[in-house]
Amino acid sequence: MGATYIEKLLRRNTGEKTAKAGDIVTAKVDWVMIHDIFIPFVKDKFEEMGFTQIWDPDKVVLIYDHLVPASQLDDPRHHKIGNQFAAQYGLTHVHRSDGICHQLMTEAGYVKPGDVVFGTDSHTTTYGCVGAFSSGIGYTEMAAILGTGELWVKVPETIKIVIDGELPENVASKDVILRIIGDLTAAGASYCALEFSGSTVEAMSVASRMTMANMAIEAGAKCALFTPDEKTAEYCNIPVSPQWADFKGDEDAAYLKTLHYQAEELVPVLACPSQVDKIRPVSELEGLTIDQVFLGSCTNGRLEDLHRAAQVVRGKKVAPFVKFIVTPASRKIYLEALADGTLATLADAGAIITHPGCGLCCGRTGGILTDGERVVATNNRNFLGRMGTSKVEIYLASPATAAACAIAGKITIPN
């Protein structure tokens, strides 16, 4: 019998040539990422465990993004402790204001196809966009990895998702992954790997694949995997490797189940309050008035997302009662969007452009809402209280849908 993508990847990493779903293996870690909220907790646990040095300081990346710039009095302490921790243990990969962790881990050149990566954030699944096994963990396990360079992993079962055909003009990879989460449900891929393939996926940019890998956790998945190709090579600034031919599941591998989608049949959708799997077509909610739009996050704060929104709002004005907040995912994206006029187009339409970072997605910086307000947002979670009070309604959407809603002042289908 053949093997799934994740079985092959973990066999290569661990040297256990017959490892299969359900087996417990010890993975050798290629990269770890720790963001600013959890750095003090990782440091405390690491020292409590009695470690005095980090297994390989060159494989550790610290990223300040959730609390940048600081908005509450407790926040700067996290950055101070991060700086002390980096100095004490010789960490050199420290990003203090470059953007969101999940954007930077591939954009800044760390994660490559086939790597095993753990991060102290559930959206660490993102790096599957380049064919890495990456997953979120807590700070205690992170502390143990810092000391040992290893982590136990149960080889997951795999759900295979095949998408073929050409997506309609107003349907983005965000609509695709929301639809899949709706079908799987919030717990439907718990402990599983999601393996994506098909002509639609092959035609997607790495940025679009990132959106899908990012949201795999919203169905409970342990990881998401895409097969690397020429686009991956260009994005990662490395040559195409002959080994990548095997970065996919075998036809006769044992899959938990397989879902097939035909791209032409997909439509723009929204995740309705307050669960990511509560998916409805935008057409069913048209006309609902809104108070705010958020375009950004590790899900949809990339250049192609800003381009798509600019295309929708060019020459128009945001509805007078709507605040349209745009947060590029990284400084690099911010500069690119500045250079090509995208930020000017968005600002001219009435957008508030903020500094790169997690921003409103985690309800920490500018843009929080209050009881009875409604927001259309491009990020990954609409949980109760995520962007202000527990009586805020959060609808998750693609960048095109979000931009169209900002102009209309109500929920509307993008053209």
């Binding site: 009695g50 509450q72 407790d74 102290t120 963990i137 502390a143 979670r381 527990s390």
Partner: protein, 165 residues
């Protein structure tokens, strides 16, 4: 070493995410103890003061989904919750709870039969009894039992590093 205890329960639904257990705005407070008054605040702001040490949470499926924040199991433990019984658990929460020595029990059938204030008797690794009805429960896999028997992951690592016998 079958452990048996009786506890008052608090009942919750499916998909209780870790933003509900402890919202992001409180994650930068200095200690987990400082966060406890805000536990479950988006859903039930009054709950944190009502919970008494030794109580048990009974929930539906996918408990602990969402964010990887380890403060979620730590806050539950700091409130004195003896165990969380749920239909199923999200994977990051599950690992974090084990690493912190918080007892998790999977029992899909219980949630539909109980309400706030009921009493359950738990025989760890064997069964739960509530209102005269008994529900069988499974035991933990060996690799997780090893971590729990060591007293959590921090103690397991301290032992590895020769700091504890």
């Amino acid at each position: 070493m079958a452990e048996t205890f009786t506890a008052r329960i608090w009942v919750m639904d499916n998909d209780i995410d870790t933003d509900i257990v402890i919202p992001t705005e409180y994650l930068a407070l200095k200690t987990v103890q400082d966060m406890t008054p805000y536990a479950f605040s988006p859903l039930r702001p009054e709950l944190a003061v009502q919970i008494q040490p030794g109580d048990v949470i009974v929930a539906g499926s996918n408990f602990g989904c969402g964010s990887s924040r380890e403060q979620a199991p730590e806050v539950i433990k700091a409130l004195g919750i003896r165990a969380v019984i749920a239909g199923s658990f999200a994977r990051i929460f599950y690992r974090n709870a084990i690493n912190n020595g918080l007892l998790l029990i999977e029992c899909p059938a219980l949630r539909g039969d109980v309400s706030d204030g009921d009493e359950v008797t738990v025989e760890v690794g064997k069964s739960i009894t509530c209102k005269g009805k008994t529900y069988p429960i499974g035991a933990l896999p060996d690799n997780l039992l090893d971590i729990i028997n060591a007293g959590g992951l921090v103690k397991a690592m301290r032992r590895r590093n020769g700091l504890e016998g």
